[in-house]
């Protein structure tokens, strides 16, 4: 028998100004299956899903839901058509309860009380059915990321969604939480729900999907059965050529310790201790990779070392101790001490998007006497060295007078790299080097990192991409809940062992590993909640 597809897209196109985000997209997803959509950042996956959820209007094309042509001009229509969406960044009201979030927009009547009562019952039933337990009266801001995601799924189910779209759902989860999520998705599939999983992680596609579509530069390049493909083939389809995440490099020749961190601690504005006694040593000529799920203190580690988060403990560069708070502990002092920093987010930290490229090439070093003439800044000298840097790092277009926001992501990253590396630092801190860049830029950045390593620099790399950590690191340290859970050599460990460490489980668990992980995460959550009170 021929069953109508749950979703069928025909010829969907969408342009943002000159950028063609989606070009003639065709895809069919059968009911009761999990369909993966994989592609690089900027391949157009999220745009496509936003069209399906009524956030954007497609320039051309048709959408069929269960065989019927459906117009989706807004989110309301998408909900009515049975589509639910779990966004990468959750759309929850932080100071509302779970229950209030669930009923928002689909209340039964003008009064709240009956809606809340009914939702409480439905929620209880749903959470039993799909392992989706959350406390309905808890405020969202007190929930862990994993639980907030469950609320998003519950929201969709409460709206009686038959089609569930999840956009990069595991980006913020530990591997164990991700496993739990996949169990939930399994259960939903068993109940006949259709699921679209958007991700850039090949492992997830192979693990759970039935069919998979690959997107590249706004086009859907292929749709295949998962069982009939391989990660290598998918990767090739994604980028249009064979990708070797392996970086060519000689064995490291570590020298003397350059960066020595002892018992580093930092407490944030809410009173939560984010760094809880971190001790690390990075030698000259080696890359120390910090693995971990986002939000376990890696950002704070970079900020504390970069001089913009107060800390206690001790940090030494080439044996000289650095002040960690008060005068002499700011970013300028760190730069003077030989620490360069390519921050995690170049758009909100590394660059001033409204400044010209030449102004950005001295950002953080603008107090250097070389750029002064008398009381004023020597703009001519700054422009000269900017032109020079941009030429040598092949920044395109090589126009120093252009505002930073007018460069592509990869070229913005090059401006930051040029600025930080050209100062010939002893220590390079580098956070999420591949975030948002295209493959070409990523390869360039990886090569630069290895070149600096071979030049004897001490490099501290923070990345949430395990593949990247494995490809670049000479040693790997795993961070969880503000602590270093252990150090491993890349050749002597694997994703599974690191995954457990990333969830705070240091010893091989006796029983169910997922239980051990949940217990560990529970402790972290409790600690943070206590600090909030």
């Amino acid at each position: 028998m021929t069953q109508a597809p749950a979703i069928e897209l025909k010829g969907i196109s969408k342009a943002f100004g000159p950028v063609q985000a989606n070009k003639d997209i065709k895809v069919r997803v059968m009911p009761g299956t999990i369909h993966g959509i994989i592609g690089e950042n900027g391949a157009g996956k999220s745009t496509l899903m936003s069209i399906l959820y009524g956030f954007y209007k497609a320039d051309a094309g048709e959408i069929f839901i269960s065989g019927r042509k459906t117009d989706i001009p807004n989110s309301q229509a998408a909900i009515a058509a049975g589509i639910g969406m779990v966004f990468q960044h959750f759309k929850l009201v932080q100071n509302f309860t779970v229950l209030e979030n669930v009923i928002l927009g689909v209340e039964d009547g003008p009064m709240l009380r009956p809606s809340l009562a009914r939702a409480r019952g439905v929620l209880k039933q749903l959470s039993e059915e799909y392992e989706l337990s959350v406390d309905p009266d808890q405020l969202i801001e007190n929930l862990s990321v994993g639980h907030q995601q469950r609320v998003e799924i519950l929201k969709a189910l409460y709206r009686q969604a038959d089609i569930l779209i999840l956009d990069e759902p595991t980006g913020v989860l530990t591997p164990a939480e991700a496993d739990h999520l996949f169990r939930i998705l399994d259960g939903l599939r068993a109940q006949g729900k259709t699921i679209i999983l958007i991700t850039h992680k090949l492992r997830e596609i192979m693990e759970i999907t039935d069919t998979v579509s690959v997107m590249r530069r706004g086009e859907m390049t292929a749709t295949v059965k998962t069982a009939e493909t391989s990660p290598e083939q998918l990767a090739e389809l994604m980028v249009g050529r064979k990708v070797l995440l392996q970086v060519d490099k000689a064995p490291a020749q570590p020298g003397a310790p350059v960066l020595q961190i002892e018992n580093l601690r930092h407490t944030d504005a809410h009173g939560v201790e984010r760094l809880r006694g971190v001790s690390l040593t990075v030698r000259g000529g080696e890359v120390l990779g910090i693995a971990g799920v986002a939000g376990n203190g890696q950002s704070e580690l970079l900020e504390a070392l970069g001089g913009y988060a107060d800390a206690t403990g001790s940090v030494m560069v080439n044996g000289a101790p650095l002040p960690l708070s008060g005068p002499g502990s700011d970013g300028a002092a760190r730069r003077a001490a030989g620490i360069a920093h390519v921050p995690e987010d170049r758009q909100t930290e590394g660059l001033i998007m409204a400044f010209t490229a030449w102004e950005n090439t001295v950002f953080g070093y603008h107090r250097d006497p070389a750029f002064q003439s008398g009381p004023l800044m020597d703009n001519a000298a700054i422009k000269r060295q900017a032109q020079d840097k941009m030429t040598r790092y092949d920044v395109r277009p090589p126009d120093p007078a252009l505002a930073a926001r007018n460069f592509s992501g990869g070229n913005q990253q090059k401006i930051v790299l040029a600025r930080e590396i050209e100062r010939d630092p002893d220590v390079l801190l580098i956070g999420q080097p591949t975030r948002g860049g295209d493959i070409g830029a990523i390869e360039f950045i990886h090569k630069e990192i290895i070149r600096l390593r071979d030049a004897g620099k001490a490099i501290l790399l923070v990345s949430v991409e395990l593949d990247e950590i494995f490809a670049l690191s000479d040693r790997i340290a795993v961070m969880f809940d503000g602590r270093i859970m252990g150090e491993r050599l890349p050749e002597a460990t694997d994703q599974t062992e690191l995954g457990l460490l990333m969830a705070g489980v240091t010893e091989a668990p006796d029983g169910d590993p997922i239980k051990a992980v949940e217990a560990s995460l529970g402790q972290k959550e409790q600690r943070e909640a206590q600090a909030h009170d």
């Binding site: 943002f16 807004n74 989110s75 909900i79 966004f87 759309k91 009201v93 209030e100 927009g105």
Partner: protein
Amino acid sequence: MDLLTLLQVLDSTVRLATPLLLACLAGLFSERSGVVDIGLEGKMLAAAFASAAVAAMTGSVWLGLLAGIAAATFMSLIHGLASITFRGNQLISGVAINFLASGLTVLIAQDLFGQGGRTPSLIGAGRFDPIILPFAEALSGVPVLGPIYAELISGHSILVYVAFAMVPLSWWVLFRTRFGLRLRAVGESPEAVDTAGVSVPGLRYAAVLICGLLCGLAGAYLATGLQAGFVREMTAGRGYIALAALIFAKWRPVYALWACLLFGLLQAVALRYQNIDLGGITIPVQVMDALPYILTVIILAGFVGKAIPPRAGGEPYVKER
């Protein structure tokens, strides 16, 4: 101080707190929806003028009230257009509205009445009369409670009672109805509201219109209840005190009542006593004038209970790509 004096001060407190309370609740609805409003002063002023002008021309205070509400709502719509539709700077829009009202009221008043930017004094049906509650006269003989009933509770114009009734009503709307849930949500997380399929601009315009309505009542009370006619700049910073009260009240209706009563009391005391002698230390009247603002700064500084505004306040909502 005897009971009668005390009651007179409290009675004056209630009168002076009324416009503050209405304006404060107006701001509360707007800011809870994420639209910051420093234009309360201007809306009140526009309403005060429109109500007095229409009341003077028609002799009907009720038509005046309607005109006042219409004027304040018109100003609200300008604010909505700037801050919701065109995603402009809400603070600057508020400032503009204050000046617009300040200029237009005098300009039109001069054109209509030629009395130096004021309306003729309102008499008779052009004003809201005090309402004497039942048995006020009869009960005034009862010790303590009698005078409280007769002097303090009875004898205000209808808008005073409306203002006080607005407090529980606002609370109920905000915390017990679907509209209130959505309104609070849009001020905290417009993207959550948007993805839930509810119109963000729709909710914000609704909030801004309620704000206009309440400012209209506040302004009309000033010109037709508290005083008898419009004079230039008659709001005299009350919109800003209401704003201060809103912060003081941490954007909650019941706290707003207490904050406005406190600031009303300060005004009443400043009005009655020039300088207050507290056992040798004289508190000049200027201290009383400045006290609401000083208290608000202290609250804002977070030394006494931190005031956390709605999270999405002041930021226009733009769908992310």
